[in-house]
């Protein structure tokens, strides 16, 4: 395949870095309204980490109430009477807590970290471009996510409080204020997500265009680092799924405000229509939240093992298969919703089949570390934890995919355990791995490895002590989103386990402060980062840390795949993608990814 055919005309017009010319952008264009993908990536990091803190704080309050139901929360006295009189959380506030915890974590923390931060950090550098295809659109994408986040946050202080119908916002509860006791908050929830939808769409078109059109000569599809493959497929999912969420949210907003009845049965509307729309977006969303994490973990695992990724084509195929199957499984959230049980059967089949590409990924990660030379740097520790935890989250998913078993565990803590094994054990550990890995490249300073390892050890241990027992709570029959389980006699024996979970949840929350401290401290005091601290292969590692505005001084050339670690006969155990083959004598190694097939034009 000739690479020139793939290049759009604007590739030749890229503004490459010019070392002879100082970067004279004014402060505001450089750090605030910047069009530089690296700055936007950093901005997404700070924004999402802020909302990660917010979501975490909400989780702490949830766990306080479940661990010590009805006891005044320490420090809860600062909350207004409408939330926690005397520090005792009110049931209506509790409903807002579970709703907003899920909303913030999914839409404003995990998703922008994986897509906004990694997408911006990695895509132009990994494909060898000077910036995104549409830099101004990229800036707008970030600057529309910010108001969306603050609208969501502001809903806590409006009359009636924040949305309280769950992050899934099932109508009629979410549509009729008399049912939920929340009116403005529930509307702001819709407005915020509609704005955030625009932000995601602007990001997605940018990512797709950049990856398709702006790959440097020699960067063939099968030489792309796996984070780029996963972000590419994720961007396609976003482009197709987000409009459905935004459309449904607009319909819900109309039901709330101008008297339509899309989801209200009084005038012939259908409550289940919302669930179909929401989950038709929502299940692809699940993969939006895990595919980039898989890509990042793959990159770090190959690096930490000093070995080529095992089965690169299978890894790419599995990403594509998961994304495709992700469109035909949404009904597994609705097995007990009143949907025709025969539909349940077919959704069970499609859902179970997703276990196959997921298993392929896990086995290929195992194959990658097998016979490796494993270096336990902080990113690698987190990436290995990602694999171990994703396995648990994946296997527990088989239980609820089985329609009869789901009858019992649906809407119980088993689901809560499962989704946290995937989103925390999976996505968040990969996010930690990626931040430890790329922070040096974008801030020019290493994160402290000592603090990093302390943070990892505490997080890994506490995380499992928090979320593993939740499987047992769910099997004991404990429902989700209940303010006080002790209302039920059969749940009273579970109180000690709930208290146990809460103790370690608080510990887990506190240990995250190590991570935030590490970031703040290292920004100013961290060891200066060299060009390539992890001896890694992709294009960004041959640039300064941080890379200059415009990234490369000229169009880079790519000579091989991204995972040429421990190539026999070389002195080094890594091989930069942009390093010309010495003397033109290319020894194409056998098997796997195409390597060194000629010199690009």
């Amino acid at each position: 395949m000739s690479t020139t055919q793939l290049l759009a005309p604007n590739v030749t017009a890229q503004h490459w870095a010019d070392p002879s010319h100082p970067d004279d952008r004014p402060f505001i264009r450089r750090y605030i309204f910047s069009t530089d993908h690296k700055t936007i990536g950093n901005q997404f990091m700070f924004m999402s980490l802020f909302f990660l803190l917010v979501g975490g704080a909400l989780a702490m309050m949830i766990r306080w109430q479940l661990g010590w139901p009805g006891q005044p929360m320490p420090g809860g006295g600062v909350l207004p009477e409408t939330m926690a009189p005397g520090g005792i959380l009110l049931p209506e506030f509790y409903n807002s807590l579970v709703t907003m915890h899920g909303t913030f974590m999914i839409f404003f923390a995990i998703m922008p970290l994986l897509v906004g931060m990694f997408g911006n950090w990695l895509i132009p550098l990994h494909v060898g471009a000077s910036d995104m295809a549409f830099p101004r659109l990229n800036m707008m994408s970030f600057w529309s996510a910010v108001p969306a986040g603050f609208i969501m946050l502001a809903s806590f202080v409006v009359e009636g409080g924040a949305a309280g119908a769950g992050w899934t916002a099932y109508p009629p509860l979410s549509a009729v204020p008399e049912y939920s006791g929340v009116s403005t908050g529930q509307q702001l929830w819709c407005v915020s997500l509609i704005i955030l939808g625009f932000s995601s769409l602007m990001g997605a078109v940018n990512y797709i265009t950049t990856i398709v059109n702006m790959r440097a000569p020699g960067m063939t599809w099968m030489r792309m680092p796996l984070p780029i493959w996963s972000l590419f497929i994720t961007a396609i999912l976003i482009l197709l799924a987000i409009p459905i969420l935004a459309g449904a949210a607009i319909m819900l907003l109309f039901d709330q405000t101008i008297g339509t009845t899309f989801f209200l049965p009084e005038a012939g509307g259908q409550p289940l229509l919302w669930q179909h729309l929401f989950w038709y977006f929502g299940h692809p969303e699940v993969y939006i939240l895990i595919l980039p994490a898989m890509g990042v973990a793959s990159e770090v695992i190959a690096n930490g093992s000093r070995k080529p990724i095992f089965g690169y084509p299978a890894m790419v195929g599995a990403i594509v298969a998961i994304a495709f199957l992700g469109w035909i499984v949404w009904g597994h959230h609705m097995f007990q919703s009143g949907m025709n049980p025969l539909l349940g059967s077919s959704f069970m089949l499609s859902t179970m089949i997703i276990a196959v590409p997921s298993a392929i990924k896990v086995f290929n990660w195992l194959g990658t570390i097998w016979r490796g030379d494993i270096h336990f740097h902080t990113p690698m520790l987190n990436a290995l934890a990602f694999v171990g935890m994703f396995v648990i989250g994946g296997l527990s998913g088989v239980f609820m995919a089985s329609t009869p078993v789901d009858i019992y565990i649906h809407d119980t803590y088993f689901i809560v355990a499962h989704l946290h094994y995937v989103l925390f054990g999976g996505s968040l550990f990969a996010i930690f791995a990626g931040i430890y890995f790329w922070f040096p490249k974008f801030f020019g300073r290493m994160l402290s490895p000592t603090l990093g390892k302390i943070h990892f050890a505490l997080t890994f241990v506490f995380y499992n002590l928090v979320f593993f027992p939740m499987h047992n709570l769910g099997l004991g029959g404990m429902m989700r989103r209940i303010y006080d389980p002790n209302q039920y006699g059969f749940l009273e024996p579970l109180q000690p386990m709930n208290t146990f979970v809460s103790v370690f949840a608080l510990a887990l929350g506190v240990s995250q402060l190590v991570f935030f401290f590490n970031i703040l401290w290292s920004l100013w005091r961290g060891e200066k980062a060299p060009e390539n601290p992890w001896r890694s292969n992709s294009l960004e590692w041959s640039l300064a840390s941080p890379p200059p505005h415009g990234n490369f001084e000229a169009m880079p050339a790519v000579y091989r795949g991204p995972y040429e670690y421990s190539y026999p006969g070389r002195g080094e155990d890594f091989w930069l993608q942009g390093e010309p083959p010495d003397g033109g004598a290319v020894h194409a190694p056998t098997g796997g990814a195409p390597v060194g097939e000629g010199v690009p034009q």
Partner: protein, 246 residues
Amino acid sequence: MPEPASTFGAGIDSIYYIILWITGAIFVLVETALIVFIIRYRHREGRVAAYSHGNKKAEIVWTVIPFILVLFIVYASNDIWLEVKRADQGGAAPADALPLRVVAKQFEWNVTYPGPDGELDTADDFVKRNQLHVPIGRAVRIDLGSEDVIHSFFLPDFRVKQDAVPGMTIPVWFEATRTGEFPLACAELCGLGHYRMRASLTVHEAADFDLWQSQEIAASGSPTGASEIDTERANEAEISEGEESA
């Protein structure tokens, strides 16, 4: 999980245990491999990683085996699912089932009993709030509805869970295998009082159920609106009426 108290409870549990064994075995296998590899291949002075891009045979093996396993799980699950949902009967409960109507609303369960005539929407129906009473050994058909928001009808001991959706009447059925008192919980977030939207299910011996029913009718007055003094006679009338129509 509590000991099952319905006819299909054990079947649902059996598929749970099948999945537990399969996933448990994979869990042990994969996590052990992960830990063994991490220890065995940790960096040591002079250690060189193998240069390998993969292995086609291995890919095929670990694609085909999970595929067969999940197909088996789907097959086994679907059998029980169709039985529980009585899909071959179009979802209809067994013919001799006791018909009940349960209507959820914030934050209570209203149960309509058919009365002695065994039919809903007749004059001898009576309604109990948050009390579900059923006989043992006889299927119960519940027409589940909701007046306001979505609730979920959850009988943990019976392995029954079904959302109650406003605007829909959804059939639910089960047959109790144990007498006693069991919790009925709301499993779908339905507002402020969701956490306390509980009720109790009492399973009676067949004769006790009839006794309970006649006591209820007696205590609540004649469903046809006769005065309290006439209750007993009215009851007898109802019963005989019921027998005639049967």
